[in-house]
Symmetry: C2
Subunit: 182 residues, 2 copies
Amino acid sequence: MKASVYIATSLDGFIARENGALDWLPGADGGGGNGPAESEDYGYSAFMAAVDAIVMGRHTYEAVLGFGDWPYEKPVVVLSSRQMDLPAILTQSVEAMAGSPQDVFDRLAERGFEHLYIDGGATIQRFLRARLIRRLIVTRVPVLLGSGIPLFGPLDGDIQLRHVETKSFASGMVQSVYDVPA
Amino acid sequence: MKASVYIATSLDGFIARENGALDWLPGADGGGGNGPAESEDYGYSAFMAAVDAIVMGRHTYEAVLGFGDWPYEKPVVVLSSRQMDLPAILTQSVEAMAGSPQDVFDRLAERGFEHLYIDGGATIQRFLRARLIRRLIVTRVPVLLGSGIPLFGPLDGDIQLRHVETKSFASGMVQSVYDVPA
């Protein structure tokens, strides 16, 4: 099983404002989470089609709930050490799971999942620190925010990346794909 | 007159480790400052040829001095509110200047300079906050450091950028050029 990140950030590395706002994202008026909602989807649908399940933290889960319509068809695992009250319509597709990134990874691998989409700032940072992310797809929005929720955080050592490809779009978005050697 | 930034950062946005080390940069074993020193120069020579003067903070100046041979042929302005002892060989090409970014900018414009290279983390941040940077050339090194001296810092509002072009290199470096509308 592998785990990947697909996320948009400002040029200064924020995935949301301090209050969680995504108003600075092109297409922020619709669509799910930190994924664009214009006719150009920046590879989001193709990426989503390639994953089996989405793993996110409670903050990201609550933010997505707040967007209105639940945007995911795939199973979603919410990392949470507390019991969660799930809206009835989501009980089939969303579950809470506690444990370290490695625990969660191993349990999902045992269930036969092959490709996890790791989402949300804190969760991405934890999985990176645990060296469980194999691919990073980072889409840079041409704006400096100055503050917000950072994509990356502290590590216990360098993580060398292998650049796979970079595309730029008419909107000014620049998307780079990196593999993280095991 | 305009002011530009040309700098390399890790994917997580650091221009140096906490202690100033640049060992994570390709070609960090030679060359001046935060500019590469391989046969591929990532547009550094062309950029340098296009600027009249380099503006940097005292920390960056002292770091460059520590590299050994002085790498700049162009005039260098070191932002410092204190008097500096300059090595005799540099007194013709290096001068200390105190004042706000706007003061420094205006004084250098009066002298007939047309294009400033703004270098060093704190100095870049101050000039960005003062809305004096017109072009950003950011070269991403495919590594996550986890900590260090950040390129970007707090702002008093968003800065919208216009993406000009992005190139990727066999080394895995990805260079994006942004204009900052006035």
